[in-house]
Structures are given as structure tokens and as C-alpha cells.
């Protein structure tokens, strides 16, 4: 069935198109038994058709949901494709979801069929079987350990595909029937349901349609000029919108090759072997990589270490400007070229970044130094902002307009509006059609005129025209004079300094902003050692005047950067203190994922908050702490408070 490119408004149609125009090009690679196996687009089409027929013969019907549980493996991606080919709706679930979460999603999505990776997932699903009365059959990829299982409800994917292949040969009419089925799928039919991870309440099933998904992916494929010659490593969770968008959707639209790692633990070395040209990593991963590089460099010989640090300096001065295409003196260019031969090239090769042409990072605020490090190496890392409801992209930074504190202008065909409370609203080609079986929540997430509410607060930066995300909308407060107060934005700015481990900012319904700071014992401790500052305990170090001086310098810098921004000049830090103990999840001050619990801390340290705002220079506090062995004790301290000068901002005429 020939498919016109322009008419390919669903993924199954795109697969047919790719098999026609990129037939012999690689579509998917997977490292198996130590060797990279490759499937071309033509081969994938043949397998997916056989698989779809096999599933059909097992009873999978149009419009039905099919759960996909497991890690990034070709057969699971083909399960997604095969389900979509039949007009069924794949519902990917996180492979590491515990049985509880799994049963919630599977039950909520009414799945009758599940395509799972291995015995582990089968065991998990069977342990909650009584809560899934609708589940009829599971198909699995990995056969090991399953020999003694009752196979009345289990079939191996291999068998399903073989059965479909045989049926297609035996009955020539079946192929034509399948073509008709594919043609009958409308672009407005649901293409996939992605469940949000549920960090903010119970998880919701985000329904995305084929046509919108394809349109959105086509926009970004054009934006980043992705072609069939690109390669991506599919190492992000299959159930996450990022993987489905960046790898699956963009791969089908552009025809690029998606490589599946051998296992989750080998992703780093597989990255090096594959050498992707398109890459995505959350800031946390980049940080871990950088730390690993730095630690290894410390163990290198003197000459290598010197070279490394010298050329790191060169890269810092010229790297980003060269990448952005700005003017750089000739000596700079020559030095940078030399550095590229000696340091940057080999380093990128070790990390598997040699061929990276476009790379993205997103998910949380990225430290400017961290971001600059990768960019100065000549890696085109950019930031994007998005969410599941938008089918990922809302904004993305174009080449040459990269800033560590913005997420870029709206993507092509995306319309962004900022609500009065600072919340970012958008309308985009890829936006979801609703939450599965939850019209009430869908209505809650939309404005009457059809914009989606992101729940994030942000604003457009005047200088760059880029969107800046400052905090979750519900966390953004207001100072008494009406200035918007985004606590996390201020805290993140402080936390980018290695000396500051945690910061808690207050200001909602107050006259000014005040912060409590936790020093980082490792960083400040090593500083103390080098500067002959003697201390006996964390508490003593935290209260040391020289430490206060050092932190004060950081706060001044943060204030200066806040003052540079018209929107945020009013929320400069006026007073700060350094806490006498480390905030700890055991004491309930942090969540288990290390996020500060602002409200709880305010109650616990009420005496300090009071002192911050009543003008006193120090305050006494005693708090109960839980030791690691579970015993409880009390820590008492006298905590000093420092006043800060407010950096004048002529634009607002609000000099302190």
C-alpha cells in the first residue's frame, strides 16, 4: 500500500512510508549476546505486520488498550507499533513500577492484553491478578524461567509473530485486510496513553492522538533538522513521554535509527559504541558524568592534569562563543582547535559524544557551570521545556540562542500565554485530547478557551524573548507589596554554589525575602582545611564568621543576578541565616527524594523565622533530632542573622 508522506497522519502509516523510502536503512539496533543486531525499516515493517496479525488472532481489537511493560527493547517497541497497527492503544508502564502502581494503571486503562519483557514483570502482574479481572493474556519477550508457568494465559512474542507470519502466508486476503485496517485508523483516534508518573497526586492517563503526535514530531524534526542518517540511543524509560517523543515519534517521522542498549546498566558503554547524533540527558545525569570525569582526572598524571585544566580554561573562554558562531580572536580559535585534538575530542569520545549534533536537557534547573562545561566542549546541548500533556515540547532553544536560565521561545506552532498568577498556559499541535476516563480532571487542566495549564509559573525574559520557568505555580507566593515570589527559583540560584547544600526561602505574605541556608559540609569543610579554619562540629563550622562572610558573598551575587531581572528585582534576599544542623529526611525536613518541605521547616524553626522578620541579630533555637540508630536527642544553638544590602535597580527605582 503506497503511502503519501503528507497523508501519513499515524505511526503505522509512517512505518509503511519509511519501509518504502528508507527500506534498507537501519531502523533499530539492539545489543544482544554482545553483538549489535540491526533491523532495517523493511524488516521492521514485516515483523510488525506479522506481530499485528498474531495479536489480532489472539483477540486484540481496534480501540482496545494493550499494556507495554518493560525496558527499551526492540520487541517492546514493536509491540507498541503492532498495537497501533491494529488501531489498539498501547499503554506503556514504567518497568520499575511496583505492583501497586502497575495494578492501578492496568486496571484504570482496562487492559485485556499486556506485552511484557520477562518473568519479573509477569510475576509482578500475577501478584495483583485479582485486581485485574479484565486481563486475559500476556505476551512476553524473554522466555527464561517461564518453562513451568501455566501457559494458558501466556504466549511468547516469538510465537505470536511466527503465528502471524504463517497466517499471512496461508491466507493472502489477510494482508489486504491489514492494509484496510491501517487505512481505517483516523488521525484523531487515540494513538497512545501515557500515564503521568504521579509525583503530583495519583497518575493520570494522558491520551494523545496519532495526527497530533505526528504533527508535533514533524515540527521538531524540522527544527533540529533530523534525518534518516541520525542515530539515537533509547535508554530513557519507555513509558516516559520523553522516550516516546524523542526516540519513537521522531524516529518514525525522520526515519532515524533507534538503538536499544544491552541492559540499563550498560547504557554508558553502549552510548560510546553507538555514538548517537541526537542525545537527551536530564541535568542529574550530566552532573554525574562530569563528576566522574573530574574524579578520574584527579588520578591522572601531572602533565595530563595540567593540560586538562589549561584547555578547560581555554574552552571556558572561547568554546561557547565558537559554538554560538560569535566572533573569537584567531589565537582563541587556534588554541581551541589544539584543545580539541588533545582534550575535548578524546573526552567526548570517552563519553560517547563524538558524533552528537543536537542534544537536549530538561526536567529541572541546570547549573550554569555544568551547562557551560558541556557546551564549551563543543556539544550542542540545549534546553527544552515540556510535559506529557503537550506531547513533550512547549519551548526549545534554537541553535545559537542558548542560556542556562531560560528554556527557549515557544516551538513552532505553539501558542503560550502567561496567566495573571504567573502560570504558563499553552496550546500546541501535539497537545493531549484529554485524560483517559477522567473528564473532570481534563476540564480542570484546561482554560475555557482551550489552553492547557502547565502548573508551572514562568515569564518571558525581556532581553532574550525566551520563557523562564521559575517554580511550580502553586508554590509561587506574593510579597506584601504584590511582587511575585518564586521560592524555588531563588533556592536553586543559591544551590548552584557548591558551598550551599540546601536553601529555604520565605517571603509569601511577608515584607521581604529571607532565607535559611545549609552549608555543604564536604565543600565548606575542605575550604576550612585549606584556610586554617578550625572547627569541631558541623554546628561550629556553620556558625563561623568566615563561613558567614563566604556565604554572604554568594548571596550578594544572587541578589545581583536577581536585580538584573526586572521581574525578580523585588525578591532579593534581605536577610539570611545559616542553619546549625543539616536538613534531614529522617527529621521530616526533606522528602525522601531530597526536596525541602518548606511548610514543615517553617513550623519547626518558627523561632528563627520570627527572628528573621523582627530584625533581631540572633536567635536561640533548640530542635529535636533523630539519630541514625533511631534515638532522639536535642540540638540547641544560637544562630546569627545577617542583613544584606539590596542591589539597586534603576528600572524600578526601588533602591534600598
Amino acid at each position: 500500500m503506497p503511502v503519501d508522506s503528507a497523508a501519513a497522519d499515524t505511526f503505522p502509516k509512517l512505518l509503511i512510508r519509511n519501509a518504502q523510502i528508507y527500506g534498507a536503512r537501519p531502523s533499530m539496533r539492539h545489543k544482544d549476546l554482545g553483538v549489535w543486531q540491526t533491523w532495517t525499516w523493511a524488516e521492521v515493517l514485516e515483523i510488525v505486520r506479522a506481530y499485528a496479525v498474531g495479536l489480532h488472532r489472539l483477540g486484540v481489537k481496534r480501540g482496545e488498550t494493550v499494556a507495554i511493560v518493560g525496558s527499551n527493547r526492540p520487541k517492546l517497541y514493536w509491540s507498541v507499533m503492532a498495537a497501533q497497527t491494529l488501531g489498539a492503544i498501547p499503554v506503556p508502564v514504567y518497568a520499575d513500577a511496583v505492583a501497586e502502581e502497575l495494578s492501578f494503571v492496568l486496571a484504570h486503562a482496562d487492559v485485556r492484553f499486556a506485552a511484557v519483557e520477562d518473568q519479573e514483570q509477569i510475576d509482578k502482574i500475577q501478584s495483583v491478578k485479582d485486581r485485574l479481572p479484565k486481563l486475559e493474556r500476556m505476551v512476553y519477550d524473554e522466555t527464561r524461567g517461564l518453562r513451568d508457568y501455566d501457559h494458558s494465559h501466556l504466549t511468547s512474542m516469538e510465537d505470536v509473530i511466527a503465528d502471524g507470519r504463517k497466517a499471512l502466508v496461508d491466507d493472502p486476503a489477510l494482508g489486504a485486510w491489514l492494509d484496510a485496517e491501517i487505512a481505517a485508523i483516523k488521525g484523531s483516534d487515540p494513538s497512545i496513553i501515557l500515564y503521568t508518573s504521579g509525583t503530583t497526586g495519583t497518575s493520570k492517563g494522558v491520551v494523545l492522538t496519532g495526527e497530533r503526535s505526528v504533527t508535533a514530531a514533524a515540527d521538531t524534526v524540522a527544527f533540529d533538522r533530523l534525518t534518516e542518517n541520525d542515530v539515537a540511543l533509547a535508554y530513557l524509560p519507555l513509558a516516559w513521554v520523553g522516550d516516546h517523543y524523542l526516540n519513537y515519534a521522531q524516529g518514525l517521522v525522520s526515519g532515524f535509527c533507534m538503538a536499544c542498549p544491552e541492559s540499563a546498566d550498560t547504557a554508558m558503554s553502549d552510548l560510546r559504541e553507538i555514538g548517537p547524533t541526537f542525545y537527551f540527558a536530564p541535568p542529574r545525569t550530566l552532573e554525574v558524568l562530569l563528576t566522574r570525569v573530574m574524579i578520574r582526572m584527579e588520578d591522572a598524571g601531572l602533565l595530563k592534569r595540567k593540560l586538562f585544566h589549561y584547555f578547560l580554561g581555554v574552552a571556558r573562554r572561547y568554546g561557547e562563543r565558537i559554538l554560538n558562531g560569535q566572533s573569537v580572536p584567531l589565537t582563541g580559535r587556534l588554541l581551541y582547535a589544539l584543545g580539541n585534538i588533545l582534550i575535548y575530542g578524546p573526552l567526548k569520545n570517552t563519553l560517547g559524544f563524538s558524533r552528537v549534533r543536537v542534544a537536549y536537557t530538561a526536567g529541572e534547573a541546570i547549573g550554569p557551570d555544568l551547562f557551560a562545561f558541556y557546551r564549551s566542549m563543543g556539544l550542542n546541548f540545549k534546553q527544552l521545556y515540556g510535559q506529557t500533556e503537550a506531547f513533550l515540547y512547549i519551548t526549545a532553544q534554537p541553535d545559537g540562542e542558548i542560556y542556562s536560565d531560560t528554556v527557549g521561545p515557544a516551538c513552532s506552532n505553539v501558542d503560550i500565554r502567561i496567566a495573571d498568577n504567573g502560570e504558563v498556559l499553552f496550546k500546541s499541535p501535539g497537545m493531549f485530547s484529554g485524560y483517559f476516563k477522567d473528564a473532570a480532571k481534563t476540564a480542570e487542566a484546561m482554560t475555557p478557551d482551550g489552553y492547557v495549564m502547565t502548573g508551572d509559573a514562568g515569564y518571558f525574559d525581556e532581553k532574550t524573548g525566551h520563557l523562564k520557568i521559575i517554580d511550580r505555580a502553586k508554590d509561587v507566593g506574593k510579597l506584601n507589596d504584590g511582587t511575585l515570589f518564586p521560592p524555588k527559583y531563588i533556592e536553586n540560584k543559591l544551590k548552584f554554589y557548591p558551598n550551599i547544600r540546601e536553601a529555604v526561602a520565605y517571603g509569601d505574605k511577608r515584607d521581604f525575602v529571607a532565607v535559611m541556608i545549609n552549608i555543604d559540609l564536604t565543600a565548606v569543610g575542605s575550604w576550612a582545611e585549606r584556610n586554617n579554619v578550625v572547627y569541631a562540629s558541623y554546628q561550629e563550622l556553620a556558625g563561623h564568621p568566615l563561613v558567614y562572610d563566604m556565604i554572604e558573598k554568594h548571596v550578594v551575587e544572587v541578589n545581583r543576578s536577581l536585580a538584573a531581572d526586572k521581574m525578580l528585582a523585588g525578591v532579593q534576599i534581605k536577610r539570611f541565616l545559616i542553619l546549625h544542623k543539616e536538613l534531614d529526611a529522617d527529621d521530616g525536613e526533606l522528602t525522601r527524594t531530597q526536596k525541602v518541605r518548606r511548610g514543615f521547616i517553617a513550623d519547626r524553626y518558627a523561632a528563627l523565622i520570627k527572628a528573621l522578620y523582627d530584625g533581631s541579630n540572633e536567635a536561640d533555637i533548640s530542635t529535636e533530632v533523630t539519630f541514625e540508630d533511631g534515638r532522639k536527642g536535642t540540638i540547641s544553638a544560637r544562630v546569627k542573622i545577617r542583613d544584606m544590602a539590596i542591589v539597586p535597580t534603576p528600572a524600578l527605582g526601588k533602591a534600598a
Binding site: L33, G34, V35, R144, G145, D148, E262, S263, D265, T266
Partner: protein
């Protein structure tokens, strides 16, 4: 394998009236038991009961002063370890015994040595038949690496690996021999709960997937009772019980041996 199948299985190895003494110390006295094809057979007992000695007798490292051992219908009194290995008996050790400077991959390939047929001349040439053989062996080794899920440490020198993984590599090397009988000397010693569960899974999978007969020495009673089809109990070198886990659990002399008796 279900116990009904095992009960009817052929005897793979039989130990008859075996005694072993080091000078005046009697490590094993007059012990008889059999191992049937396809079963998981545990040997348990308090410290110093003679379990490891028994294993060393089975794979030919110790030569008993008395008694007979019949392996695959062939009776022998003396056998050297490499004869045992050639005959299809592989083992792992209580204290991991790997080539610490070599990678996991190379360690497991070492387990294939006995199955390499081309002589040194061909191997040096790295050409034609030798290359073909090498590829076949590597394929087999990769299957084991996949089976034990140790892909990420393929190229890591074994000395740098944590203990639990070293044990897994050692199991991999034993599996590379494609043994008929696999002797595991305390495969879970020193492991945490999660590592124990993983290892138990692997032992069951080896038994199920490759059909390998397994003799297991283990101290963790929970593991023994869950994994094994039949259990032999030794105490001070004497066999005091033999039967299914349930039978052994209820045996009074076993309880006495483990908990002690009031004198």
C-alpha cells in the same frame, strides 16, 4: 523439576561406604548416598561436618581410603580433578577462586578450555577453523553472560568486582564447561538477602534451563529447604539423615545435631 520425576530419575552419581581420614582425623566415615539426574541435591550439616570434604571427594580432589564412587555407571576409586572436569563435573568454591586480574569475560572463556579442540598451532594462526571455533565459544559464553545478567561487567577485571558478582562470575565459569553435574560450595555465603534471592533464582534457572544436576552445600536453611529436591545431612563425618526437605526437617537426630542435646 518435581520430586516425583526426580524419584524415578536415573542415578547420576553414587557414593558407597566412603571414608576419608587425614591422619587420625576422620573427615568422612562410611557415607553412602546417591545423586539422581536433574535434581538439586543439598548437603548440609554443622561446621566441620565434612561437607566440603565430600565435595572434594566427588570431584576427585581428595581420594577416599575406603569406598566406591560410581559416576555415570563407571566405578572408580581414584580420579584427578581434571578427569572429573572432563567427565562433566564442574564446581565453584567456598572462597571465590577466579583469576583476579582477568576480566569476567576471560574468566568465563577459561571455563571453555576443555572444550577447545583446535591445537595451539591453529589457535596461534587465528584463522579458518580456529576462528570459527573461537566465535562458537564466544557465542556460548555470551549466552551465559546474558543468562546471569552480567553484561555490564563483561570487561571489568574480576578483582574490582564486589563479592556477590564474583560469585556469579564463578558460577558462569562453571557453566561454561557445560557440566552434567555442578557442585556449588556455599554459593550464598556472605551475601545479603537480595543477592541470595538472585543467586537462588540463578540456581533454579540453571537446573531448569540447562537441566544440570546440582549438588549444593549451604548454611542458609531457608535457601536449602526452598531449592533442593533432596537433602543429605552430615554430622562429624557421619550421615545422619537423607530425604526430602520436609523429612529431614522433622528428623530428631538432625534437630539434635543442629541444636545440641542435653548431656
Amino acid at each position: 523439576m518435581s520430586s516425583a520425576e526426580v524419584a524415578s530419575g536415573d542415578v547420576l552419581l553414587a557414593v558407597e561406604n566412603v571414608s576419608l581420614a587425614f591422619g587420625g582425623v576422620k573427615a568422612v566415615s562410611d557415607v553412602s548416598f546417591d545423586i539422581r539426574k536433574g535434581e538439586i541435591r543439598a548437603i548440609i550439616g554443622p561446621n566441620g561436618a565434612g561437607k566440603t570434604s565430600m565435595l572434594n571427594i566427588i570431584n576427585g580432589f581428595y581420594h577416599p581410603q575406603q569406598g566406591r564412587i560410581t559416576f555415570k555407571g563407571e566405578t572408580r576409586s581414584k580420579m584427578r580433578p581434571h578427569d572429573a572436569a572432563k567427565g562433566g563435573i564442574a564446581r565453584t568454591f567456598q572462597n571465590v577462586a577466579l583469576f583476579r586480574g582477568m576480566t569476567s569475560l576471560d574468566n568465563i572463556v577459561a571455563g571453555r578450555t576443555l572444550r577447545m579442540n583446535k591445537n595451539l598451532f591453529w589457535q596461534l594462526l587465528r584463522f579458518g577453523p580456529a576462528m570459527k571455533e573461537e566465535v562458537e565459544h564466544r557465542h556460548r559464553v555470551e549466552e551465559i553472560i546474558d543468562f546471569l545478567k552480567i553484561q555490564e561487567i563483561r570487561r571489568t577485571p574480576v578483582g574490582r568486582l564486589p563479592y556477590g558478582l564474583q560469585k556469579r562470575v564463578e558460577l558462569g565459569r562453571a557453566l561454561a564447561m557445560e557440566p552434567e553435574l555442578l557442585l556449588l560450595d556455599e554459593p550464598m555465603a556472605g551475601m545479603n538477602l537480595e543477592e541470595k534471592e538472585d543467586m537462588s533464582r540463578f540456581v533454579l534457572d540453571v537446573n531448569d534451563h540447562y537441566g544440570t544436576t546440582i549438588v549444593l552445600i549451604e548454611h542458609d536453611m531457608g535457601v536449602v529447604m526452598d531449592l533442593s529436591d533432596r537433602v543429605v545431612v552430615l554430622d562429624h563425618g557421619v550421615k545422619i539423615a537423607d530425604g526430602t526437605p520436609d523429612e529431614v526437617k522433622g528428623n530428631q537426630s538432625v534437630i539434635d545435631a543442629y541444636l545440641g542435646v542435653a548431656h
